[in-house]
């Protein structure tokens, strides 16, 4: 699973990364060539404004992956920080975790819409809006790992040996949180990509002229009968990307789970 997911994901990432080198300008409109069928020049045809659907799909995936990675990076960092503090310092624990419970109750879509209407649409707002509701689950996960690891005899032994708290955390506790955090990060990445597409579809994401998979499905859905690829191409691309990320996550979980490892 790691190899299937990782392979497909690597392909999607490479295609997105080098998109400007092999596709046309995704913003370029041609009013004389709207809703064209696929051709050698334009593999997925054109949309209702005469833009290259293949170019827009690849650039859309670029945006999706950017959002996914940025959300993962910011959730992992803040979740790790909050989780470690809550798990290691029992005084802060109940306060922090109640705040996290509060954050958990915020619906992602609603928060994103509120933020976009306050600050205007933009990639950074979108990332913040998707990140905030994801932090509690990561923080909880990290906290639970820290709570179980800090009771292990080797952590007690390190304290007996005169290690200071930062060293104990860095050397003995943090390395144990990494496997769980990586699995969780894959799941968060997948759901962040889907949330971004959903928000763009609703018009609460990036502005409509920017190629994003959600934007494309949203603006082309009226022409589904005339040019089905304008909807299916970004849809399938989205599904494959999310599937690849999820497969990678599942594979990582199996890889890190000692019980499953032994059975193999």
């Amino acid at each position: 699973m790691v190899f299937t997911g990782g392979g497909v994901l690597a392909l999607v990432i490479v295609m997105a990364l080098f998109a400007p080198m092999y596709v046309r300008d995704p913003m370029n409109m041609d009013p004389f060539k709207t809703l064209q069928p696929p051709s050698a020049a334009m593999w997925f045809g054109t949309d209702n404004l005469g833009r290259d659907v293949f170019a827009r799909t690849v650039f859309g995936a670029r945006l999706s992956l950017t959002v996914g990675l940025m959300v993962v990076a910011s959730t992992a960092l803040s979740g790790l920080l909050i989780g470690v503090i809550a798990g290691y310092h029992r005084g802060f624990d109940s306060i922090i975790m109640r705040v996290m419970d509060g954050l958990m109750s915020i619906p992602t879509i609603l928060l994103a819409m509120a933020l976009v209407s306050l600050a205007g649409s933009g990639l950074s707002i979108l990332i913040v809006a998707i990140t905030i509701p994801q932090i509690p689950s990561t923080a909880r996960l990290v906290r639970s790992v820290v709570l179980s690891v800090r009771e292990r005899p080797y952590v007690e032994a390190a304290l007996c040996g005169g290690a200071r708290a930062p060293k104990v955390l860095w050397r003995h506790i943090l390395p144990n949180t990494i496997p769980a955090l990586m699995v969780q990060s894959a799941n968060i990445c997948a759901s962040a990509i889907l949330t971004e597409a959903g928000l763009s579809f609703l018009g609460a994401g990036v502005s409509p002229e920017i190629p994003s998979l959600g934007n494309m499905i949203s603006s082309s859905r009226l022409y589904l009968g005339l040019a089905p690829l304008t909807v299916f191409a970004p849809g399938v691309w989205l599904a494959v990307t999310v599937l690849a990320v999820n497969l990678l996550g599942d594979g990582l979980r199996d890889l890190f789970d000692p019980r499953l490892k032994r059975r193999r």
């Binding site: 109940s94 292990r152 005899p153 080797y154 007690e156 032994a157 390190a158 304290l159 007996c160 040996g161 005169g162 290690a163 200071r164 060293k167 050397r171 003995h172 390395p175």
Partner: protein, 356 residues
């Protein structure tokens, strides 16, 4: 007595008394109650008792892994039970611990060398060469080959791992090592090796041990003095020979009688002790042992027996046996009070203030 390396006074630990915001008040588990003893330099004090009697908690209290509810732990005249964590670090060098489980007490991600040199690196910065030399020296001390420093704990056997745990405890050159069931997770043949290693180290380096065990044969082999714990309290503290030759407290008697002896000719006294250890949440009134005690009298139900010093230097907490056996208890107590500094045998008398 000022000569003691470690002196423990009325050490008490109650668990789960936490009251706080959004937290229920629960009845406290009285894990350790009013435990006092002292350890001289270079001697081995064993603490024995059934599981759940609080002996491991005593070890963790001594190391300040858990905070004591009350009591004092005095090393070199300083009470470390009250020290804040940064002041405590300096005292870590004097006292180290060997853990029960050689598997979970070693970080699986670090190499043997990293594990045993870490305590020293907490206090001083070592160059790569220095730490390698230190690791090699420590490994040699515990009978392992120096080239093992690059191995991971998972590549070592249980006995080798426990030697590693001992090497880690030796790294800071402590004067006292607390060994919490240090051999009980090992095979019997390996147990003997580790015990002999500990005794050799004691002879070479003059290290004192607080050796916690439930295995009486191990205690008989390694101990100089033995404290018997029951339900969080010390019920008898005596020299090893005296305790095994003639246990006074009925619980000690039962423990020794219950231990299997690989000698068919040895006469065993059967002591009927029935029932389970009562819950430390709600310990019995009076003497905590009275519900299971074969010789309990009415007084045991009502009044808690204090630890009474006996003529041969041991202390026992029993209404029936202690006064009966010790006709001179009163005079020896007075003597003990007067000659505290001169008579080391009597000076570990515990809870003397309780004496009626």
């Amino acid at each position: 007595m000022s000569g003691s390396l470690l002196k423990v006074e009325s050490l008490t630990k109650h668990y789960g008394r936490g009251t706080g915001f959004l937290r229920k008040t629960e009845p406290a588990v009285r894990a350790v109650e009013d435990v006092s003893f002292s350890v001289e330099a270079g001697e081995t004090l064993c603490i024995v008792g059934e599981s759940g009697c609080g002996k491991s908690t005593v070890a963790r209290l001594l190391m300040r892994i858990v905070e004591p509810t009350a009591g004092r732990v005095i090393i070199d005249g300083v009470d470390i039970a009250g020290l804040k964590s940064h002041a405590l670090r300096a005292w870590r060098r004097r006292m180290q611990m060997v853990f029960q489980d050689p598997y979970s007490s070693l970080n699986p991600r670090l190499t043997a060398g990293q594990i045993i040199t870490e305590p020293v690196e907490n206090f001083e910065r070592l160059r790569r060469k220095q730490s390698q030399a230190l690791a090699a020296e420590l490994l040699r001390k515990v009978g392992l080959a120096p080239d093992m420093m690059h191995r991971l704990p998972s590549e070592l056997s249980g006995g080798q791992r426990q030697r590693l745990g001992i090497a880690r405890a030796l790294a800071l050159q402590p004067s006292l090592i607390i060994a919490d069931e240090a051999v009980s997770a090992l095979d019997v043949s390996v147990q003997a090796q580790i015990l002999n290693l500990l005794m050799d180290l004691q002879q070479q380096l003059g290290i004192a041990f607080v050796f916690i065990s439930h295995d009486l044969s191990v205690v008989e082999h390694i101990g100089h003095r033995v404290a018997v714990m029951y339900l969080g309290r010390i019920v008898e503290l005596a020299s090893c020979e005296a305790l095994f030759a003639m246990p006074v407290h009925p619980y000690t008697e039962a423990l020794i009688a219950a231990a299997p002896v690989p000698d068919p000719t040895r006469v065993r006294r059967e002591v009927p002790v029935e029932g389970e250890v009562p819950s430390p949440i709600n310990p019995p009134s009076g003497c905590t042992f009275h519900p299971r005690c074969p010789i309990a009298v009415e007084r045991c139900r009502i009044e808690r027996p204090p630890l009474v010093p006996m003529a041969d230097g041991r202390v026992v907490a029993c209404h029936v046996r202690a006064p009966a056996l010790d006709i001179h208890a009163e005079c020896s107590r007075k003597d003990a009070d007067r000659s505290e500094a001169v008579n080391p045998e009597l000076s570990f008398a515990v809870g003397r203030s309780d004496f009626p």
